[in-house]
């Protein structure tokens, strides 16, 4: 009964989504308040229905109901409870339901925290979200119903993909989807503003915290996915430029550009057309990602099982959602008008460069991801584009972006003198170069790429310092006054600085690990030892460890440095019983300076194992960098001027604040 109930709830949710999508939008056009006020209750109702449907699917998983096809395909009676819950989003149908759930969470959030917005505007926003929801519900019901029955029921399930049986995987998709779907809010705001013709600074101010919130989740989701791949795929990489990773990275780049261009729109009324286009693009790229993952046009490690009907449906949906919004854009954007003029050297021009670089990076990733498809579609054969392309192109594009990131925060809005500022930057630039070379030679190797990467990181730090110092410790003031002055800094400004610092931390981690990592594959039996980069690794032995739904060989490896034991690592090689594929569980000893990463390869006929030992300096900084960026986003998002109460006061405060981009 429970699956049928879930199915029924989804059908009702579709009806509600259609009402939410049509009546408030129509009401806003016709000025009918009685239709517009339907938006909020309908959003709530739809959310309740989808939450209930989600609970139904989860119940089927927990109860081992193998008469549900989706459960039988993605669970097993031996699967532990936590993974039965995570199994809900372990396959195509369920992850689509998760997507729906997230969309509803966002809709309800918009419905709740929008008391300041004019009624027609909120009606249009929720209407657009309702239409998007209706499309996805229709997709689910027509091609991917998670509640389809399997009659007769399977005796046991085919088990959750072992790759997904990891704590990181429990949280990765929900966070990623929160980010993906979160851009639907910026999208809906943009469409509503285009429809209503109120594309102004107020619109930008309303959009900003939502965009930042979505961006925070997406950052978290991508970071978590990377961390998961590092721990779970067993060979120590953290980013692979896989089409699916790219699919999540493109909206992130567009979203980052959007956050910066919204700053210009809010502060100076500029970039309006571009900002609205970015808002449309960020969500469009999320949808495109969905298409790429679920249609089978690209082969990828984590693409879902494919069905041509699904691909066609999503493509039609893409055409409707993206096509109609771009058409609306072409129709309305010409009337938006330009913002205030700005000088060649100004905060605006710097942010323009930022946006161009981010857009080009996004385009480069898109091109690299779809190039195999383009070539194939034109009948020119099959190719694959690999990390060398992405690493090179992306690295080259990041250099000017970081350069401008450093200069931009120091430049005034509207117009600034280039000469004096650039002269002030000479000393920091020299210091940055010297420090980068010094760090390189301390670490043992100076190379062009490493020095470039380190300079990027230090350049950002130095620019934050140059921005911060006159604010909290101006000439003539004492050190004792610093805390008091620091407390007066606008939160959005601090958020920007923290987020930029996160980029520096990230860049530092990437550069250090790319340049100075060492790895060795060694044959190890009991009591064999090896030394890598000053660390001694001794294999104490390998024993068989039974898991709930797998059998594992677990090695115990003692790590020592200078004769002292500093860690005991237990990597595993698991064979999952149902799907019979081997999985490598790496064991990692992590601290801020380095990761010691040990994973097991093949068992040799002699009974020894091939063990891969890796020393990865500063790799955790990559993920710490993401967390710092997120924290910066959080600070910026919770700035006083976005908080609902005391609206007029907040608006005034927003106008007074300077320099917080």
């Amino acid at each position: 009964m429970i699956p049928e109930l879930g199915h029924f709830l989804l059908i009702v949710a579709l009806a509600v989504a259609l009402i939410q999508g049509v009546l408030p939008l129509w009401g806003a056009q016709k000025g009918r308040a009685d239709w517009m006020v339907l938006a909020r209750p309908m959003a709530w109702l739809q959310a309740l229905l989808v939450v209930a449907a989600f609970a139904c699917l989860m119940a089927s998983f927990i109860r081992h109901d193998f008469s549900v096809l989706y459960v039988a395909s993605n669970s097993n009676s031996a699967l532990p409870l936590a993974y039965r819950i995570a199994g809900v989003w372990g396959g195509h149908e369920g992850s689509l339901l998760l997507w729906m759930l997230m969309l509803n969470v966002w809709s309800v959030a918009v419905a709740s925290f929008s008391s300041r917005l004019p009624l027609p505007f909120i009606a249009r926003i929720l209407g657009v979200l309702g239409l998007v929801a209706a499309g996805f519900l229709l997709f689910m019901l027509a091609t991917s119903n998670p509640f389809d029955r399997l009659i007769p029921a399977a005796a046991d399930g085919r088990d959750l993909n072992p790759l997904l049986q990891d704590p990181g995987m429990v949280a990765h998709p929900p966070m990623l989807y929160m980010g993906y779907v979160g851009f639907s809010v910026a999208y809906a705001f943009a469409v509503a503003a285009l429809l209503g013709g109120n594309l102004d600074a107020a619109w930008a101010r309303w959009t900003r915290p939502w965009t930042t919130a979505a961006w925070i989740f997406l950052t978290f989701g991508i970071g978590l996915g990377s961390w998961w791949a590092y721990n779970e795929l067993g060979w120590g990489g953290w980013w692979f430029w896989d089409p699916v990773e790219n699919a999540s990275f493109m909206p992130w780049l567009a979203g980052t550009a959007l956050i910066h261009s919204l700053a210009v729109t809010e502060k100076r009324g500029g970039f309006k057309v571009w900002t609205v286009l970015l808002a449309l693009l960020a969500f469009s790229l999320s949808l495109l990602g969905t298409f790429l993952v679920r249609s089978g046009v690209l082969s990828s490690v984590h693409a879902f099982a494919t069905d041509p009907r699904r691909g066609l449906f999503i493509l039609a949906f893409l055409v409707l959602v993206i096509g109609s919004s771009l058409m609306l854009f072409a129709w309305r954007a010409p009337k938006v008008g330009l913002g205030q003029r700005f000088g060649l050297f100004s905060r605006e021009s710097m942010l323009l460069v930022n946006n161009m670089m981010l857009a080009v990076s996004c385009g480069a990733v898109l091109l690299g991801t779809l190039y195999p498809l383009f070539v194939d579609a034109m009948g020119m054969g099959k190719i694959s584009v690999g990390p060398p392309y992405f690493d090179t192109v992306f690295g080259l594009l990041m250099a000017p972006l970081v350069l401008v990131m450093g200069v931009g925060v120091l430049v005034r809005w509207k117009h600034d003198e280039a000469g004096p500022l650039l002269r002030r930057l000479v000393l920091p630039a020299v210091v940055v170069l010297v420090v980068a070379l010094a760090v390189g030679s301390l670490a043992g190797k100076v190379s062009v790429v490493a020095t470039g990467g380190l300079m990027m990181a230090f350049w950002i730090v130095s620019s934050i310092w140059m921005d911060l110092k006159p604010r909290i410790w101006p000439q003539g003031s004492t050190l004792g006054q610093v805390p008091a002055r620091a407390r007066l800094l606008p939160r959005a400004l601090v958020g920007m600085m923290v987020a930029h610092l996160g980029v520096a931390v990230f860049a530092f981690g990437v550069t250090m690990v790319k340049t100075y990592e060492t790895e060795r594959d060694v044959k190890m039996g009991a009591n064999d030892s090896t030394e890598v980069a000053g660390y001694g690794f001794r294999m104490l032995g390998v024993r068989d460890v039974p898991g709930p739904n797998y059998a594992a060989a677990q090695a115990t490896i003692e790590v020592s440095r200078g004769g002292k034991v500093i860690a005991t690592l237990q990597p595993e090689k698991r064979i999952y019983r149902v799907q019979q594929n081997p999985m490598t569980e790496a064991a990692v000893d992590t601290n801020l300076l380095r990761d010691l990463y040990v994973s097991m390869g093949e068992r040799l006929p002699t009974g020894e194992w091939v063990v891969r030992v890796q020393i990865k300096p500063f790799i955790s900084w990559i993920w710490w960098g993401c967390l710092v960026m997120m924290f910066g986003g959080f600070l910026a998002m919770t700035d006083r001027r976005y908080r609902p109460r005391k609206a007029t006061q907040a608006a005034a405060a927003g106008a007074v604040q300077q320099g917080a981009a």
């Binding site: 060979w235 692979f240 896989d242 057309v273 286009l277 449309l280 693009l281 469009s284 298409f291 249609s295 089978g296 046009v297 690209l298 082969s299 490690v301 041509p308 691909g311 066609l312 493509l315 893409l318 055409v319 993206i322 096509g323 771009l326 058409m327 854009f329 072409a330 129709w331 954007a333 010409p334 779809l370 195999p372 498809l373 383009f374 194939d376 579609a377 054969g381 099959k382 190719i383 694959s384 690999g386 990390p387 060398p388 594959d521 594929n581 081997p582 390869g601 093949e602 091939v610 891969r612």
Partner: protein, 174 residues
């Protein structure tokens, strides 16, 4: 208004490609080489630069040629399946290490296991071109007369092994 139509135009072009892409299987392309003699090659092996292996060395038996590279992500998916298959199958698998660095290729095999009797080292990809390699991995089945009987594009899955490759091998072994 026209310049505001650019995004829409670009998007429609993209949709066109995606629509065509839907009709294509990224993993399957007919090869003009099917039922033609496999191109000859003579090249050093991956393990010993001094040891040369040529197509005629393999004449008289059915064998599998698997194109792989350490830089190829999909090969990583495929590899455990090949290792497994090599253990239980009588058909020898030869690797074509395509556009790779010797150290990388050897390291990869050491880490992932080596299903190959021997890997041909094709650093400049010339043999790959002769075999019409589009992307990596690809797998050819070559019969005793040196004729290509089957070509598989993309990673081999347990399913494709069972439904495509093994039937061809059974047929060849009569």
């Amino acid at each position: 208004m026209s310049r505001y139509l650019w995004p829409l135009g670009l998007f429609l072009v993209l949709v066109g490609f995606l629509a065509v892409g839907l009709g294509l299987d990224p993993r399957e392309v007919p090869s003009p080489l099917i039922n033609k003699p496999a191109p000859a090659f003579k090249a050093p092996t991956l393990h010993e630069a001094g040891k040369v292996i040529a197509k005629q060395d393999l004449a008289g038996k059915v064998w599998i040629l698997n194109v792989w590279a350490s830089w190829c992500g999909a090969c990583r998916d495929e590899h455990p399946i090949l290792v497994e298959f090599a253990k239980r199958s009588q058909v020898p698998i030869y690797g074509l290490n395509y556009k790779d660095q010797r150290a990388d290729g050897l390291g990869w095999l050491q880490k992932m296991g080596n299903p190959y009797v021997e890997s041909v080292f094709d650093a400049d990809g010339r043999i790959g071109i002769d075999y019409g390699v589009y992307g990596v991995p690809e797998t050819f089945i070559i019969d005793g007369a040196g004729v290509i009987r089957y070509k598989h594009i993309g990673p081999i899955t347990p399913e494709s092994l069972r439904t495509k490759i093994e039937p061809v091998l059974r047929q060849l072994h009569g």
